[in-house]
């Protein structure tokens, strides 16, 4: 018999009605259990105990009585949402040139370009949510590179004042159309998020329906030619590519500085899925942490991967590194926290840190913006970062090297109708722009499962 460690709320996976839920610990494992008055009991594993659950959770508070009672139906954002926008995701097309087993957007159902929202409408939507000088927009889909006018959309984002513009892509067009990549760069594209499920073609055949490794490598190369940073994004599916985590990391580090990091996404069951998941189909965040240590322990230690602070700790982790000629130097140490305002200001004023939503979201956005953007290849910078110096203790060298060869290892564990936990959802900072409204990602893409 398990022990209830936290009361929370979730949804019924069949009808998506809000229901009370509990996180229950049995041994090392933690499960999310809930009952729908119409559709019955549901239970899903959310933590397998590979890493200490309570330590990872830290002080993240439970939903107090009376809090977030309208979640998730009042999305847009509701007045009780606890986190500001770090990133805005905008679907610019429903078309896709792949038909993947798993697709959060259920993309590929549309084939007609006239179904794409016109640039004018996109401008209007974004103008309602972009904060000039600050916003980071993800242009997504479907497959956004199917739009010939994607460079124009990037330019619109920059005209509206977006500080960073990212494209989420499978990389197919980036691999075969160098002119297109150049046009994206000239329009002001900041960096690319590219689907990258592994270092073996069998993985792509299983998940994406065809071999794609050579395509991914060409996409990386073409982005490098235009000085566009690219982050590799594996969707991790047990039994398909979870044994490839170490090789993915080693490949990504070797591909620095073109590759800025790896962003792991354990498989989630929303949008298009092959079937409702069993426990063995899930890959929990703590399992991922352990696999990183076991498969790539020579590169990355667990102590260098810290729980998400901008979102809920169970939503993901981040690790910050610098690629040196013979090693990966960690900058993140779990538990090391900065005083407010930095070493000098904090010591002078004695003030406490501010952890309010907009400050944290801004900080998170600037962190990823700085890391994933490649510096301009001016003569002095290039010589300095690629010279023979290796002393990271030299302040000047450190600053140049971090900018040129910074590397992140991050993860985001999206939620689905089975494991949705409103204690997490209310802190989401990745917001989908839905005709000018902002909806937390896991709420926007939440989809009901078919009953067997």
């Amino acid at each position: 018999m398990g022990k209830v460690i936290r009361d929370t709320f979730s949804v019924c996976p069949i009808c998506l009605e809000r229901v009370p839920a509990r996180r229950v610990r049995t041994g090392d494992e933690v499960r999310l259990e809930k009952t729908c008055p119409v559709h019955g009991d549901f239970s899903v594993v959310v933590w397998r105990g590979k890493v200490d659950h309570d330590e990872w959770l830290g002080g993240a508070p439970a939903i107090a009585p009376g809090e977030n009672e309208a979640c998730p139906t009042a999305c847009g954002l509701c007045g009780e949402h606890l986190q500001d926008t770090c990133c805005i995701l905008l679907e610019v097309t429903s078309r896709c040139n792949l038909s993947c087993r798993f697709c959060f957007a259920g993309g590929g159902d549309a084939h007609d370009p006239t179904t794409d929202p016109p640039p004018g409408r996109i401008r209007e939507w974004l103008s309602r949510v972009v904060r000039p000088g600050k916003s980071l927009v993800h242009l997504s889909g479907g497959e956004p590179t199917l739009r010939d006018d994607l460079p124009q959309l990037v330019a619109i984002c920059k005209e509206l004042g977006c500080k960073y513009v990212q494209v989420n892509t499978n990389g197919i067009r980036l691999a075969r159309d160098e002119g297109y990549v150049k046009a994206l760069a000239e329009a002001g594209l900041s960096f690319v998020f590219m689907q990258f499920d592994g270092t073996e073609d069998g993985i792509y055949e299983a998940l994406r329906g065809r071999p794609l490794l050579a395509t991914k490598k060409r996409a990386i190369s073409n982005c490098a030619l235009q000085n566009i940073g690219i982050t590799l994004v594996p969707t991790l599916v047990p039994g398909v590519n979870t044994q490839n985590i170490g090789d993915i990391l080693r490949y990504a580090v070797k591909s620095s500085p073109a590759v800025r990091g790896v962003h792991f996404q354990p498989v989630s069951f929303f949008g298009r899925i092959p079937a409702a998941p069993r426990d063995e189909d899930r890959f929990t965040l703590d399992e991922l942490l352990l696999e990183i240590e076991e498969q790539a322990g020579e590169l990355i230690g667990l102590e260098n991967l810290a729980p998400s602070q901008c979102n809920h700790p169970f939503c993901g982790f981040h690790g910050d590194f610098v690629v040196m000629p013979s090693r990966l130097v960690p900058l993140t140490r779990r538990g090391a926290t900065a005083p407010a305002g930095g070493a000098f200001a904090g010591a002078a004023s004695g003030s406490n840190g501010c952890c309010c939503g907009s400050v944290q979201a801004d900080r998170n956005r600037e962190f990823i913006g700085r890391r994933w953007t490649r510096p301009r290849p001016d003569g002095a910078g290039h010589a300095a970062c690629c010279g023979t110096g290796t002393d990271l203790g030299d302040m000047e060298y450190f600053l140049r090297r971090v900018k040129s060869h910074g590397f992140t290892v991050t993860a985001m564990a999206f939620q689905d109708a089975g494991n949705l936990d409103l204690e997490r959802l209310r802190r989401c900072s990745l917001h989908v722009c839905d005709a000018g409204r902002l909806i937390p990602f896991c709420s926007y893409y939440l989809s009901a499962w078919q009953r067997a």
Binding site: A306, S308, Q309, C310, H318, D320, L331, T332, R333, A336, T337, A338, G342, A343, F344, R363, N364, E366, F367, I368, R370, G393, D394, M395, E396, F398, L399, V402, G406
Partner: protein, 64 residues
Amino acid sequence: MEGDRTLICHRCKVKLVKAQTSFEYLGHSFHSDMLRCPRCGQVFIPEEIVKGRINEVEMMLEDK
């Protein structure tokens, strides 16, 4: 920056000289040349360095 001015230590009344100075933040150690009194060791860090380079290092190291 100080330009052509000569800076002296207020206590010792001697000219500050450039010396390698160590900094530590969040478990990381750095060194950079700063003006220091050769007698008492007092370090002078100009405001523009604090708000510039040092602030940048802090931002690079601070947690998300």
